[in-house]
């Protein structure tokens, strides 16, 4: 199968994630959409590695997974803290900083 199909799939998944970030209002869902975007990047890396016949892209995918895991730790801590304060994870409720 043509590896280019996987690139197209990665682009579609990335777009779904990006649209999700822009339209969803729950911080957890927004964050999940960001993770979806990172996974789309991984798919693209692996597919390109296959096309080029190297392993560099696959190695990069591992690094990205570790970074995504670290991001989850930091992100969930921040979202949890906001939720405990406000009893809501909606990013529309977080609007004090507007002049």
């Amino acid at each position: 199968m043509d590896p280019m199909n996987y690139i197209v799939l990665a682009a579609i998944v990335f777009t779904i994630g990006a649209v999700g970030v822009l339209v969803r209002r729950n911080a957890i869902i927004v964050f999940m959409c960001v993770e979806l975007m990172l996974n789309a990047c991984n798919l693209a890396f692996v597919a390109f590695a296959r096309m080029h016949g190297g392993i560099e892209g696959q190695v990069i995918a591992f690094f990205v997974m570790v970074v995504a895991a670290a991001e989850v730790v930091v992100g969930l801590a921040i979202i949890m803290q906001i939720f405990r304060t406000r009893r809501s994870a909606s990013i529309d409720d977080a609007n004090l900083l507007k002049n």
Binding site: L38, F48, I60, F63, E71, Q81, I91, A94, L97, N99
Partner: protein, 549 residues
């Protein structure tokens, strides 16, 4: 037991070699990293009341030692060296990267002085971040005098990320550095002692938008990897002139440049990716704002210059129009919005956005003068902005001790606290680019480079935008010196030795770089070599001709 089904023949042969790490050349990074790791261990094993002194000393010594090591390495670098690559060519040591690292470390030290400042045992950071604001638990922690000394290791990791961001030699290292820099900053933003809801909100916004933009950055890297088959800057550069690995792969490169550009422009905070900046700068604890406004900006532009000058140095025509549009939008939109601001931290944030637009004109120039101009501008702006935020920490509401951000409260400060108002006045004049301050020389340098590269319309917009911004800087100076003190006049704290040093450093740098810029421009900032031939530039050298010296 299931035998391994993969035979050796089906695997790509990978030659493993022992890592050859030049620890001496990596030492500025390693010292800061070690301080971060030791800081975490200190948190785990040292009793709470002794952590503050140990952590402050550790952080400041580490940053100071790393700064000295950077200076020594500048001296040790051979005069004709184009730079060295280390650690499997993932890190580059050349004069621009050492310059940016030195500036970042100096600015980090100035910010650390603000971070370490305590008044009556109270730092700028909350005693217990996990306690809900306004709860019994929070009150108990305030009474017990708890404090978060985890701030120091977090700052160390952020500084490490900034250093590595400017010294990365491939896109993967740069992405890792971006995250190492950003993740601690997201947390630090949410740790303010007062106005904790604002602070938490700032952390949430910064985190979600930051993660969003780094996903774009990463997808851009994936596209460039698809085009060039490698993520090293030199390989991407070579592919840019030879045409890539895939037939008809040009769109991949263009998408890649655009998306990497989005990630970069978000980090430097230019229109239309600037929305996080005023909110985060206002909500974050002011010492952290000082670190972000100076160090992060220097790091992000250092990385941006390397990406666009080295990796995309052979495809200038493709990315220049994009940066033209962004630079013009930034200089116009941010200047206009800044005029309407009522809060000093938001105003400084919009000012930072406008300055990012000015520095962007140097990136657009894509010539040697653009590089040196941007370097001077970043150093000058960094010190001025750290000083300005240091002053913001000193002006407090009389009733609750929170910082008095409202500009109307600053009226008449020139009469009650002349030294403080005069220092802020000097910083504002430097932001406006008045002669005899560092801001003037910086603006002159970047605009000159842009004109030399044929971007005259950009410079005209820049000068007009400077005029608009000068209006609101001067308005604050007039307010401070020629208006009656306000009803709710703020309480001005006496600067302690730490904050005082930071303000003094800012004043000294602003005046010195403004009155005697010559020595710095000649000796400190690396002068690019004369034009190197295209053949040499296209080789897999560590850096391109502009970064060579």
């Amino acid at each position: 037991m299931i035998p391994l089904s993969l035979s050796e023949t089906t695997l790509p042969t990978v030659t493993t070699q022992a890592p050859d790490l030049d620890y001496w050349l990596l030492s500025p990074l390693l010292v800061v990293f070690a301080a971060g790791v030791i800081g975490v261990i200190v948190e785990a094993f040292v009793p709470a009341q002794r952590r503050y002194s140990i952590q402050t000393a550790l952080a400041m010594v580490a940053v100071g030692v790393a700064f000295v090591l950077t200076l020594v390495q500048v001296g040790a670098l051979p005069a004709d060296s184009a730079g060295l690559t280390l650690a499997f060519a993932t890190v580059v040591v050349d004069r621009p990267s050492l310059f940016f690292q030195g500036v970042i470390l100096a600015l980090a030290l100035a910010s650390l002085l603000l971070i370490a400042e305590r008044r009556d045992g109270e730092s700028a950071f909350t005693g217990q971040a996990a306690a809900v604001p306004g709860s019994e638990e929070e009150r108990a922690h305030v009474l017990a005098g708890s404090q978060h000394t985890e701030v120091y290791p977090l700052v160390m990791f952020a500084v490490l990320g900034m250093q590595l961001f400017t010294a990365a030699n491939d896109f993967l290292t740069m992405f890792i550095a971006l995250e190492v820099m950003s993740l601690p900053l997201y947390l630090l933003c949410g740790l303010a002692r007062r106005r904790r809801l604002f602070s938490q909100e700032a952390a949430l916004k910064y985190f979600l938008l930051g993660a969003f933009s780094s996903a774009f950055f990463l997808f851009g890297i994936a596209m460039v990897y698809g085009y060039a088959g490698a993520v090293e800057f030199a390989a991407v550069r070579a592919a840019g002139s030879s045409g890539g690995l895939i037939d008809g792969g040009e769109p991949l490169l263009l998408i890649g440049i655009a998306m990497i550009g989005v990630g970069m422009l978000f980090k430097v905070g230019t229109v239309p990716f600037h929305n996080w900046k005023p909110d985060v700068y206002q909500g974050a604890p002011t010492p952290i704002t000082a670190l972000m406004a100076s160090g992060t900006l220097v790091a992000a532009f250092g990385a941006m210059l390397r990406v666009f000058y080295v990796a995309f140095g052979t495809t200038v025509a493709q990315w220049r129009p994009m940066l033209w549009v962004v630079a013009i939008l930034t200089m116009v939109v941010a200047a206009v919005i800044a005029v309407t601001q009522r809060d000093i931290k938001r105003l400084l944030a919009y000012s930072s956005v406008v300055h990012a637009g000015f520095i962007l004109t140097a990136v657009v120039a894509a010539n040697a003068d653009g590089l040196t101009g941007a370097m001077f501008y970043l150093a000058a702006y960094g010190f001025t902005t750290v000083g300005a935020f240091a002053i913001v920490t000193l002006v407090r509401n009389p009733d609750n001790g929170a910082e008095a951000g409202d500009l109307t409260q600053w009226a008449g400060l020139g009469r009650t606290s002349p030294f403080l108002a005069a220092s802020l006045g000097l910083f504002l004049l430097a932001f406006a680019g008045i002669p005899l301050t560092s801001g003037f020389i910086g603006k002159f340098a970047v605009f000159e480079a842009a004109v030399a590269a044929g971007a005259t319309p950009l410079v005209v917009v820049g000068v007009l935008s400077s005029a608009v911004t000068a209006f609101f800087y001067v308005r604050i100076i007039v307010l401070m010196f020629f208006a009656e003190p306000a009803e709710n006049a703020p309480r001005v704290l006496k600067p302690g030795i730490l904050t005082g040093t930071t303000v003094g450093l800012g004043v000294a740098a602003t005046l010195l770089l403004g009155i005697l810029p010559g020595p710095v421009l000649e000796h400190v900032i690396p002068q690019p070599a004369a034009e190197t031939s295209e053949a040499v530039a296209a080789e897999h050298t560590a850096a391109d001709s502009l970064f060579a010296r």
